[in-house]
């Protein structure tokens, strides 16, 4: 038995509708504006690993590369995707195919509000 049911239930409904408004409004009428659109390389079709892996794991991969190069003096990475060997280097490998930081890296980083500090030292190509 709830007192004032006729006020409380619509109140809760109105609250839920208002609270979730941004979500369903975007689903219904959103233009997809603001979603990350990283610019893919024009020539290259194959990254060092699969697209799905790079999307979720590129930060771990870069950390592995960093440790392998600096601390173990290993310079080449064997891709499990196609068996090709790549030089492990952010500026000399990744940024050769993705030369535009704003249109590639920053797209998702800004969207996810992450601030990688790679660029404090590693130089991004001039755009």
């Amino acid at each position: 038995m709830i007192y004032d049911k006729e006020k409380i239930v619509p109140g809760i409904v109105v609250f839920i509708v208002l609270f979730t408004f941004p979500v369903w409004y975007n689903l219904a009428f959103g233009s997809g504006e603001g979603a990350p659109k990283p610019e893919l390389p024009a020539q290259e079709k194959q990254c060092v690993e699969s697209k799905e892996y790079m999307r979720t794991q590129h930060m771990d991969l870069l950390n592995q590369w960093r440790d392998a190069v600096v601390r173990s003096d290993m310079r080449l990475y064997l891709s499990s995707e196609n068996g090709a060997k790549f030089e492990m280097s952010l500026t000399n490998t990744c940024l050769k195919c993705h030369p535009n930081k704003t249109r590639f890296c920053d797209q998702c980083h800004d969207y996810m509000a992450v601030k990688p500090y790679c660029w404090d030292c590693h130089i991004a190509p001039t755009e």
Binding site: R66, A68, V70, R71, S72, D73, M74, R75, L76, Y77, L78, S80, K85, E87, M88, T91, N92, D120, C121, H122, I123, P125
Partner: protein, 264 residues
């Protein structure tokens, strides 16, 4: 529980499975190790060292070729203030470079000469001992390496190094002075810069050795006064030079065993 035949077979079977799984895991790990390899043309040494032929070097004492070669390729900033100076390779007058040479009289030309100085890549490096984060450590090939990712800027190594080979970034090396002149004249994008609060020094061009190239200062010297090589190899150019000439080292009494030799 009395172990009957049935249980015994279960246990041994499970143990065998576990062992096989363990082996698989170990193999998988070993395979992931093989993902990384050095480059085919990398230079390998057991004890990298440098010999500086002062007889050749002092022909032109104002020459800064080796310094330019190194500092331009490694994005070494010039803060324009001697207190903040970042030094990978630099020149000092003979007396300052070799303060423990006790002879009252040395040849005039040597006395007025200046020697190019760099990190000595000591066999017994005091900087490595004191680093709390292992941001600097001695590699298998004798290079005293630095990991700028890991340096926290505590400057213990600067206090420990008796050669002044380590410099601290008191300011952001990517910045510019009051007149808007950038501290790094021309950035080399293939090599990182450092950031404020990080110690840096010469690394014997580890990134060039990995590609089969000699250090930048060695290539930059027109007099061929700098010679780089492996002391472990009796046939190396360095060993040959040291066999035929008398050489001195900086502050040998400290027991750091510097690996940069000066032929006087």
């Amino acid at each position: 529980m009395a172990v009957d035949r049935r249980n015994f077979i279960k246990i041994t079977g499970l143990a065998a499975l576990g062992g096989a799984a363990g082996k698989e895991a170990m193999d998988a790990l070993a395979q992931s190790e093989a993902k990384f390899s050095p480059m085919d043309n990398a230079l390998h040494g057991k004890r990298w060292a440098m010999a500086v032929d002062l007889k050749k070097c002092k022909k032109d004492n104002g020459c800064k070729d080796c310094i330019h070669a190194c500092h331009s390729v490694h994005n070494v900033p010039d803060f324009g203030n001697p207190k903040d100076e970042i030094k990978w390779i630099w020149r000092e007058p003979y007396e300052k470079a070799f303060p423990d040479q006790e002879n009252e009289f040395v040849p005039d030309d040597l006395l007025h000469a200046s020697a190019p100085l760099l990190c000595n890549h000591c066999d017994n490096p005091p900087c490595v001992r004191v680093c709390p984060t292992q941001a600097t450590w001695k590699r298998q090939d004798g290079i005293v390496m630095m990991d700028w990712h890991r340096c926290i800027g505590c400057r213990y190594c600067i206090a420990a190094c008796p050669y002044g080979s380590r410099s601290f970034n008191w300011r952001d090396p990517r910045g510019a002075d009051a007149e808007g002149k950038p501290y790094i004249k021309e950035q080399n994008p293939a090599f990182p810069t450092r950031m404020k609060g990080v110690v840096e020094k010469c690394t014997f061009c580890d990134e060039r050795l990995a590609k089969g190239l000699k250090p930048a200062c060695v290539e930059g010297c027109k007099q061929a006064a700098l010679v780089f090589g492996d002391l472990d190899d009796p046939e190396s150019e360095v060993r040959k030079l040291l066999r035929e000439n008398f050489s001195i080292r900086r502050k040998p009494g400290l027991g750091t065993q510097p690996e940069v030799y000066y032929i006087v």
